[in-house]
Amino acid sequence: MVLPSSGSLDYNSIRAEFGAPSSNVYLNLFNRTGAYVYNVPANANITTSSTGQLSVSNFYGARSKTDYAAGPGSFHSTGGKLPFLYYGTGGTGTNLPAFSDTSMLVSGASKTITGVYYSTGIGAVSTHVETSSGAWYTTMAVYRNDNGSNVGNIPVTNGSYGGNPGGWNPASTIWSWAPSPVNDWLYTSQLNIYKGF
């Protein structure tokens, strides 16, 4: 969710939105890229440094982590003469690092997401979104948490998967997939932030 864009705003409202462990509220706890605030456009007014100047007004319209899922943007090759290459986060059988934050909001509804990755190899090029919240349709924006840039957008446009090629349970895992431009930009070597609209 989000903090108000105008009017009075106090330290406690900021703490109650982002969630924090300290009884004493101090603003530099909430610096962008820190433990509580992702580096996304809605939080652009918040400084990234814990020693930078920060005022309550910088938090107008700021968004907590609730809206976003996150995980390391990584790469894996299966090796050998005809390797499969995986770019992104999580996913079944990809050997990519798991999501550190699996919940995100899409059109106001909470979704659990366990994989966003692009794969390429012999005879197969595709982008996958694995979620346990049923099939859904959105454009997913991907941001890098180190510099806040929007590295790309993935249109998740296609339905739900009911098969069982990898041995995982289709009852709990729905596999939506997107059209496949080359999405190797999911490999950022940084924390990727994923947001659905």
Binding site: G7, L9, R15, E17, G19, A20, P21
Partner: protein
């Protein structure tokens, strides 16, 4: 070691906090909640978390914080997180073999139960 014997209390703070409700497109107020975790028998720190009442990610954030707290208690009790971790509110040794099935697998990885016995071809 089982860490599950703790009490979690909720204290509603007197001042209201503000937030923007994106569904109704209105600024709203809510109570701020102070959650406190206190272990009932072990000598470990009492730890807190603050969040708005009715926060969309209430369960998720509190579950995450509880895991953090259990890990902090584990470290306070002298367990090295390199070799130990929390699972189901218990301190367990990372990679520890616990079941007879795991032992059997280690002793004989491709047993006849898993891999059918076949006659080798004559060369």
């Amino acid at each position: 070691m089982d860490l599950s014997d703790f009490t979690k209390t909720l204290n509603y703070l007197p001042d209201l906090v503000r937030y923007f409700d994106e569904e109704t497109k209105e600024d709203k107020t809510a109570r701020e909640v102070e959650l406190t975790w206190k272990h009932n028998s072990l000598s470990v720190s009492e730890l807190k978390f603050y969040l708005r009442e009715g926060h969309e990610a209430w369960d998720d954030r509190i579950r995450t914080r509880e895991n953090e707290i259990l890990t902090m208690w584990m470290i306070e009790l002298g367990y090295d997180p390199l070799y130990h971790r929390i699972k189901d509110k218990k301190i367990i040794v990372r990679g520890q073999v616990e079941t007879q099935e795991q032992i059997d697998e280690w002793l004989k990885p491709n047993s006849g139960n898993k891999l059918k016995v076949t006659k080798p071809e004559v060369i």
